[in-house]
Amino acid sequence: QALPQRSSGSSILVSPRQKGNPVLASLRSVAWEYSDIPADYGLGLTTCALFLSLKYHRLHPEYIYTRIRNLQGKYNLRILLTMVDIPNHEDSLRELSKTSLINNVTIILCWSAAEAARYLELYKSYEHANFSAIKGQQATSYAEKLVEFVTVPRGINKADAITLVSAFGSLKNAVNADPEQVAVINGWGEKKVKRWCSVVEEPFRVQH
């Protein structure tokens, strides 16, 4: 499939070293091109990734340190894309965790070439994205918000939320209801009643 020609700014830069890596075959959604860069993948102006297979790492433990050193602190975000392809990964991962702290790299684990490729694509396409998606401000409808609100206490489900508001008409009334009034609603057993009534009364602040 011929991808439209784009300027190098919008494609992933791949070091020739990566030739033959199955990850490249899975890189489908974003354009990529070979380029002579110190990292394995250039994912933007300030972001790069090194690829490491744990299988390889076990045989050549010193390899990755050389590579990290060669980056010479050029990038702001330095991903160590680690493929977990051995069953006994514990020791290697422990060591890499320590490395990440000392050598200033961020470890991302993946379990297949397809997943690795997906991470690369994501990094490239989110290069200029804003972070609202993880800031938790998502607009939803009143019904969804209402259900979400009522189902915070453990054990109360969606159906309970709807019976509750339909019994009381509004959320305010439901919050003010007595346990006995809640208990007569279909599906509201003692445990749920107790949880609901105690959570709306529970003080926000723990008192000492």
Partner: protein, 936 residues
Amino acid sequence: MSANNALQPVKLSLPLEYQQHLFQELRAEDELVVIAKGLGLMRLVTNLLHSYDAAGNNLIIVVGAEERENAWIGEALAESAAVSMAPKARGLTVVNTDFTSVAAREKMYAKGGIYSITSRILVVDLLTSLLDPDTITGLIVLHADKVIATSLEAFIIRVYRQKNKNGFLKAFSDNPDPFTVGFSPLATMMRNLFLRKTSLWPRFHMTVASSLEGKKKAEVIELEIPMTDAMRDIQTAIMECVEVSIHELKKGNSGLEMDDWNLDSALLKNFDVMVRRQLDPNWHRVSWKTKQIVSDLTVLRGLLHSVLALDCVSFLQHLDTIHAAHSPQPGSTRQTQSPWLFLDAAHTIFETAKRRVYASNAKANAKSSIDSLRPVLEEQPKWALLAEILEEIDRDLYFEPPMRDDSNGTILIMCADEATTRQLRDYLQMMHVEPKTEHDTKQSKEAHKPSAAFMMRRRLRNYLNWKREFAQVSNALFTENQKALEGAVDPRIAQGSYKGKAPANKRRRVRGGGAAGAAPGRAANGSVAQYFEKPNEVADLMDEIRITGEEANQKADIIADPLEDMDDYFELYEMQDLVVVHAYDGDQDEHVLEEVKPRYIIMYEPDAAFIRRIEVYRSSHNDRNVRVYFMFYGQSVEEQRYLATVRREKDSFTKLIKERASMSVVMTTEFQGVEDPQEAFLRTVNTRIAGGGRLAATAEPPRVVVDVREFRSSLPSLLHGRSMIIVPCMLTVGDYILSPTICVERKSVSDLIGSFKDGRLYSQAETMFQHYKNPMLLIEFDQNKSFTLEPFADLSGSLKSVNPNEVPSDLQSKIVLLTLAFPRLRIIWSSSPYQTAEIFEALKTQQEEPDPVAAVRAGLDKDMKAEDQVFNLEPHEMLGVVPGVTPKNLKNLTLKAENVREVANMTVDELQLLIGTEAARQVYGFFNRNLIDLDD
């Protein structure tokens, strides 16, 4: 009872031989007691506690007690103290919230006595030496079945045993099931409990059997009632839905072991738990649909119970709400819905349930398409039987009054839950009231039979009113989405559901049972459609059941029992004449029996434990005769479930006995064979090296500051096991502080998903960067959970899946965003808490030890005291969901308002002062929006 404690004579209330035997055993040595449900575990525990309490000069800790158990123990101890007039007895002190201050706790512990302490508080107090393990006389562990290697209770026992070799340690459980799951479960459990001896007391134990099967056996009459045809149809249809759901589940998760997911096991009480347990290792990877089906199964199994327990009107109402809750947002397609709603069987459930309540027949002068509805109101078969039994008891009492004995002559009716008790109370009150309508005044001369007609008519009236309101509510809730969607989606699909006020001919409900026999009522997308009667049909029906004179005379439904003056009412009646309706409530039932002293017991629903309680009660009292009526629906789920529980318990005990017999072998070959991390961990715990007292010559032992809320997880216990010193503190920033620069936020995979969703992680990362140089995010997988994030679904994304403008839904893309936002945030990937402990150890080498004081201070406002900034989680979370509330103004609200109720009751003006105009309007609207009288 004679006393057995030479030092201090105490009165015990253990009349039966096996109880005394067990008590002596427990006084003599440390052991794990597993006893069958209903044989009086609580009574044993309280008597044991009392024997220590009376002696005085003790510090005894009860671990793992639930809230209500605390209440029972407290009551029982006070009572026994009064009975045996023990001057030194001090009763039970419950330490269960953070309300008691540290200083007060320290003083309390110094005084001694019996304490029931929440595990989370206890472990912190033990670690901070607020409660010195050396001073503890003994530990009583309840619910021993829940003590697994990584649990808090196991941690407590370990800390206790490390410092205290002489104190006693006794563990109790009345649930043998968990002891039989896994490889040599009993041996593992014993090691977790630091115990060497087990004592098993099944119902078939020789001593138990001889104690209960003496001359004083209770008279039991078993009554099997057939279900009505409609009930059976519904049950069959539900079973079909369950079967299909299970099938779908298997299909969607090939790769998993699901041999025992079948219809038979689906009837068992713990089927949900079983499915969850098997799916759990992969829970973060399964598709949305699988999760949907798992929750469907819970709903369906709930229905199986409600069809037997609820009356036909309530059942229909229940179905209506379930249907509303499970209906898709308008415009969605098949893929996003519960599969069972598409089955013919689902249709059968809804239709049959409806036909039990009212039927339709074409009007004689039918020009229009209006059918007349008439009430059917099928009664539950058990009601009539109950009335019959009561009559029989009456006759019995009249013709051959029983010999006077110690029992009260009260009739006790036991049923499954509070809802059923209400139903029965209504029925008993109203079964002799006849609803007289014009048609049947002539026939009413005939002998009157007890019937529920009156009650049912009242319920139907309420139901119809409710339904009208409910239509409005769901309208109000769901039209909003619809409006939003209508522009984008084909209107033909959108009109499928929830348009209560659309033109009548579009909303035609088609009655499958009626003469019309047309296509089943389906929505455009193929699921069962919600129906709403036409107003004039409902009017007909209302007319039919309108309030008659007699009905008007009856007093209105009592909703809230005036429980405060219960005592006053109790005095008014002779116990002789009372009919007491009660719900099964675990060990509390014993007290009910003792207090009511019934002559007749009617078990409205089967319960294996209660039968034993009756046996114990009967055998304990020579002069109290009891006759038990035991009723169940033949060939019903209820019957099968009952039989299955009895069988399972017996099997579990048999397995336990077998394992105990061969256990000595297991103990000697303890450290051979395949290395399980759990075992490896347990082995490293050497009780001889006191916690953290590292013998090496290093200057300082390694130390980790841990947030007290983290004690819910197993990691602190494991760190302690690797001989690090755990400093529990109330932390505002981070969960674990490893060094002055390293701060770790721990997230399990499910936490991670949740905290991305509400943005918590983002702000946590922000604050970590304000206070620490090297913040780290620990993504911790569970032991035995699959160590991967790859979903079962195909990843190879289309262009759309990496489009930055789409809101990303998968975890991978959110992790990517997080690292882009915080390039210096390090991620630790750990396959299990065991692994995490090792990683922490590695990270800490050659780092300075953290300073607890600085760690606590980080993130706190300087001008506020630390205590003011500790929050309760759930109310906070609820408030966070409310539209208009942002993480920033949330703080204002929680400081000014006491609780959620107060916020809900605030006016716009009050809110405005705290959070500004726009937000105030949103918050006020959220709570005050009226869903019933909606005008637009």
